[in-house]
């Protein structure tokens, strides 16, 4: 894996701001790296080379004029293709949005540009972010950056692979049930889901609105902190956006974990692949060695997460995806009347997994089943939130695996949707609770592929979470580098 454009986002921004490198040269290096690896990875659905060059030149012009382009000056960033970019195709890896060019930018895209970042392209994903392997893309899968016979995870697999392969130092994904953290773990990058409402969802194509959050991928905890601080913050365009000061996640990275109370969650260590479980226990030992107070804790309500999630998320999706009706944008398959046109368009435009989720959600919400399934799932969600609240009375952060195994083989889990859904079992509880969580690379599994350890925190507990993540990163560095 050759590093991009060389080095971390912090290094790139420092070099560009200091006049040692131009944003243009960094951008060209990233575009070359992408061109070289794309044939085997298929991480991108669209490379916005022209727009990236224009943006890089603007950063260089600003510097020459004596203005500071911002904390991400000249840093190439890749965006999951469910983030709206004005004039640049945004497809959600769905035939139903093929060729669509949004008339506006997502808030996170505006904030990236204002910080001097260079958007180099749009990355592959499971259609509408529904999946755990990036195999549900209408454009074909993304492949793992270390072993091309494996999946990169999903749904933000393109962003994970792009950062994992060193094509870009930073990328954004969206995390509804683990879609940033799980591919980050599988590809050996840092990946983080913020507290619900910390990052504006304006311009993120909606999947399950009560769960969706945009989050960063990065090669290091410090880079993830840098990116989070740029994209976080109140946005009047998203009514669920929190009007709360942004946690300053970058300032405590070196503070250590002395006295920190860490709960090792039984449910996130047991019943997973033994090689992954071993790494999680080693991570807990490292934190204890560094002075944290580590104890085991059972949170049995977490076991309800998978079922609750796969009722709630599809229910919300079935409503959100009603908008794809062939009227205002995207695909239309002509038919003699509107209802027939809707059916023809949706039948041709959605892939099988999206259809499954829409039908599952419609079922869970329909007369006769609402109380038995959707209503129960929402109450199960309450039980999970309460259990986590109790856990955080005893602990500052919780620790567990991010994914139940390392990267699995392409095609291995496509036959049975439920088997694929199990890939999200460790990440779902944080989405249901609206809590932040992040994955940090911590060694490799028996197959030589990366393992991710997950740090979970209560709402707006990002600062401590990053502090612990940074300690794990240092420990991993000391053990294996």
């Amino acid at each position: 894996m050759t590093p991009i454009a060389a080095g971390s986002a912090l290094d790139v921004a420092r070099a560009v701001r200091g006049g040692e490198r131009t944003a243009r040269s960094v951008t060209e290096a990233a575009l070359e790296a992408i061109a070289a690896r794309e044939p085997e990875l298929h991480a991108f659905l669209h490379v916005a080379a022209d727009e990236a060059r224009v943006a890089a030149d603007a950063v260089d012009d600003a510097l020459r004029a004596g203005r500071d382009p911002g904390p991400l000056a000249g840093v190439p960033v890749a965006l999951k293709d469910n983030l709206c970019t004005r004039g640049i195709p945004t497809t959600c890896a769905s035939k139903i949005l093929e060729g669509w060019r949004p008339p506006y930018d997502a808030t996170v895209v505006v904030r990236l540009r204002e910080a001097g970042a260079i958007v180099v392209g749009k990355t592959n994903l499971d259609e509408f972010a529904m999946g755990s392997s990036t195999e549900n893309s209408c454009k074909g899968p993304t492949y793992h950056p270390i072993d091309p016979t494996r999946v990169p995870g999903g749904s933000s697999g393109g962003s994970a692979a792009a950062v994992g392969a060193g094509l870009v130092p930073l990328a954004l994904g969206s995390d509804t049930g683990g879609s940033v953290r799980q591919p980050a773990a599988l590809c050996g990058t840092v990946g983080m889901k913020p507290t619900y409402g910390l990052v504006s969802r304006y311009g993120l194509v909606a999947f399950a609105s009560s769960l969706d959050q945009i989050g960063p991928f990065a090669g290091s905890v410090a880079d993830a902190a840098l990116l989070l601080e740029v994209i976080a913050g109140h946005d009047p365009l998203d009514s669920t956006s929190l009007d709360h000061p942004v946690p300053q996640v970058g300032r405590s990275l070196d503070a250590g974990v002395e006295g920190m109370r860490v709960g090792l969650v039984d449910e996130l260590v047991n019943d997973i692949a033994p090689d992954v479980a071993r790494r999680v226990r080693e991570a807990a030992e490292e934190l204890a060695k560094a002075g944290a107070v580590v104890e085991e804790i059972a949170v049995p309500e977490m076991r309800l997460g998978l079922s609750a999630y796969y009722l709630i998320a599809p229910a919300e999706a079935s409503s959100n995806l009603a908008r794809y009706d062939g009227v205002r944008y995207g695909l239309r398959v002509e038919a003699p009347d509107v209802a027939a046109m809707n059916v023809a368009t949706r039948t041709a435009g959605f892939g099988p997994e999206v259809k499954r989720r829409i039908m599952l959600g419609t079922y869970a919400l329909s007369a006769g089943y609402y109380d038995a399934y959707y209503g129960k799932a929402q109450r199960a969600r309450t039980l999970i939130v309460r259990a986590l609240d109790r856990a955080y009375e005893r602990f500052d952060v919780l620790l567990g695996a991010t994914a139940p195994s390392t990267a699995f083989a392409v095609g291995e889990r496509t036959a049975d949707p439920l088997t694929m859904y199990m890939s999200d079992v460790c990440t779902i509880p944080s989405n249901l609770a609206g809590h932040p969580a992040m994955s940090v690379p911590f060694g490799i599994g028996d197959d030589g592929l990366p393992v991710g350890v997950q740090v979970l925190a209560p709402a707006l507990g990002e600062e401590r979470m990053f502090q612990v993540a940074a300690a794990l990163e240092r420990a991993a560095g000391a053990r294996w580098r």
Binding site: P103, P336, Q378, T382, V385
Partner: protein
């Protein structure tokens, strides 16, 4: 407690109609098998005794968010219409509506 309902072929055909999706016979069979397994798994949630537990619809408490009703520019009319499959006289154009089946 009554047994949670299971999902069968007729249910899938019904929800596909509600969701405006057309399914072939083979697809109906495959989707029924796959979705039945997911619903079967969801019995752990469906079987819960959650008497007195309130539902969580939203992760963090939010109240109604209001803003001043000030006029502001919206999206560019032409740019929005340019994305539509069909337009006429500055409006979205759709096939016949009146007379369609419900």
């Amino acid at each position: 407690m009554t047994e949670p309902p299971s999902l069968g072929r007729d249910d899938v055909a019904h929800v596909a109609r509600l969701a405006r999706l057309a399914l072939g016979e083979d697809e109906l069979e495959t989707f029924t098998n796959q979705l039945a397994r997911v619903i079967e798994h969801a019995r752990d949630v469906a079987a819960l005794d959650v008497e007195g537990v309130p539902p969580t619809t939203h992760a963090l408490p939010v109240c109604n968010v209001l803003r001043a009703d000030d006029p502001r520019p919206g999206l560019d009319h032409e740019e929005v219409l340019a994305a539509a499959p069909a337009t006429e006289d500055g409006r979205f154009k759709v096939p016949r509506i009146v007379g369609e089946a419900p």
